[in-house]
């Protein structure tokens, strides 16, 4: 698969990465090159093979429904670039 500039722009937007127009050509080439490399998987016969999402051989552990965490807004907010009155602040969102 060879990526065009529009596709790169689209995925960059999905990933919220600002990409300058003059970078698009280079990125499209580079990403296409990578995709070509990974596309050799197409030659592997995977009929009837179940996708493997985890190598952990165990059951999903479950915790009891108890309040054991939270209650430390100062810690939660300590690294915030912008905060006020216990809230995180971001540029205004118009719904």
């Amino acid at each position: 698969m060879s990526l065009d500039k529009d596709t790169v722009r689209k995925i960059a937007n999905l990933a919220r990465l600002e990409v300058r127009d003059d970078e698009l050509n280079h990125l499209a080439g580079e990403l296409s090159n990578i995709l070509q490399f990974v596309e050799q998987l197409a030659e592997v016969n995977t009929d009837g093979v179940a996708p493997m999402t985890s190598v952990a051989h165990m059951e999903l552990p479950r915790r009891a429904d108890e309040v054991t965490d939270g209650g430390y807004p100062d810690k939660v907010l300590a690294n915030a670039p912008e905060r006020n009155d216990g809230f995180f602040l971001v540029p205004k969102v118009v719904e």
């Binding site: 995925i11 490399f37 998987l41």
Partner: protein, 493 residues
Amino acid sequence: MTAMSDLTKLTLAAARDGLKAKSFSAVELTRAHIDAMDRNRALNAFVTETPDLALERAALSDAKLGKGEAGAMEGLPIGMKDLFCTEGVRTTACSRILENFVPPYESTVSANLKKAGAVVLGKTALDEFAMGSSNMTSAFGPVINPWKRKSDPSARLVPGGSSGGSATAVAARMALAATGTDTGGSIRQPAAFCGLVGIKPTYGRCSRWGVVAFASSLDQAGPMTRTVRDAAIMLGSMVGHDPKDSTSAPVAVPDFEAALSGDIRGLKVGIPKEYRPDGLSDEISKLWEAGVDMLKAAGATPVEISLPHTKYALPTYYIVAPAECSSNLARYDGVRYGLRVEGSTLDEMYAKTRAAGFGEEVRRRILIGTYVLSAGYYDAYYIKAQKVRRLIADDFAKAFETVDVILTPTAPSAAFGLGETDDNPVTMWLNDVFTIPTSLAGLPGLSLPAGLSADGLPLGLQLIGRPFDEETVLRVADVMERSAGFSAMPAGV
């Protein structure tokens, strides 16, 4: 009393014994390493040095040692890869986006080590978000390997990556040992490049809680040390079931050091034919053969095995890891912590922040990961890779029906120089061709220094074990270490 400079040349085991015997104090041992850090700052191994905290901690250790309450790592100075969140100490993942992030929490692995008495000297450098094999993608400059080529001692070599700062710190005797993390080879390849032992344990052995995530289904922490025994000691203080990590295995912690019996008679060692690709250097081939000979001499039996899907491991990894990374790194959005570049809208703030905060390799992997998960491509790329991943894991499972451990080279070459690679990212990825299959299968893999290249650089061999059978891997590595007698040190150390 041992001379200060000699203290940095001790193994972890010898330092431990020396502390217990009161031959020197933890404060002395720590100070010796802090001095070494001062002398070697040009190698750029540490992102953040914490000498004061270390000395405080060492004094506490001395008190504990005095009372006979020493933990397994009591008073032993180590480096902590800057991917482990450390409470009150800046944790950057070597990214601009976390440049000023101070975690209000401590990762389980670093907490375990501290509980065992380890003295943390500082945070070691890595490739940004652990994405790289050279340490050149760090936002805070490359790390320099203390090893030099005989032919060109002025050439600055990479320590490998992503745990390159840890590797350099241990190789240059700035720390007795260091933590690493390994997603596709990030402990084993730098260990090989710097003449160290590094083990990536079985997926699920070490808790991932508090370790900045790169690819969740692959990431594992492990020790980087100068000997196999040291690796066994330190591994024992890192592992353990953690209820805060849903993929942490509820298995007992063995006495890894006790596994070093020196006896590997009758063990069957798999030699996978697919790890001998066209163009594998003579030097690596010969090293591998020498390794087989050592095992034979010790009474083990080499068995040729086939891992037929080996060549597909790298493309599989470069779908799975970027896919997970694209999602794991979505949280770096300038809202709750880390860098923010202002924008007039929320989306503009996100895009500017993330473009400024992430380096080129990270951005590239996020884009690839975003693409392979996107509508219309998910099945062709992501699901396909997950299927091939199962085939790769099945290859190993089948091999382990007949063999006890597998021996391969760790990396296709010795350490290379800064700027000696071409611009094609795929070329760089080839460094991990021998380590990635193990990661995809979640198996324990260890690299040990087995010899020097003609140009005087260390070369590593990799041992791969069954799930949760680090003990066999360590036992075999210990025997090989004795046979190989690797005693070289970087010049000037």
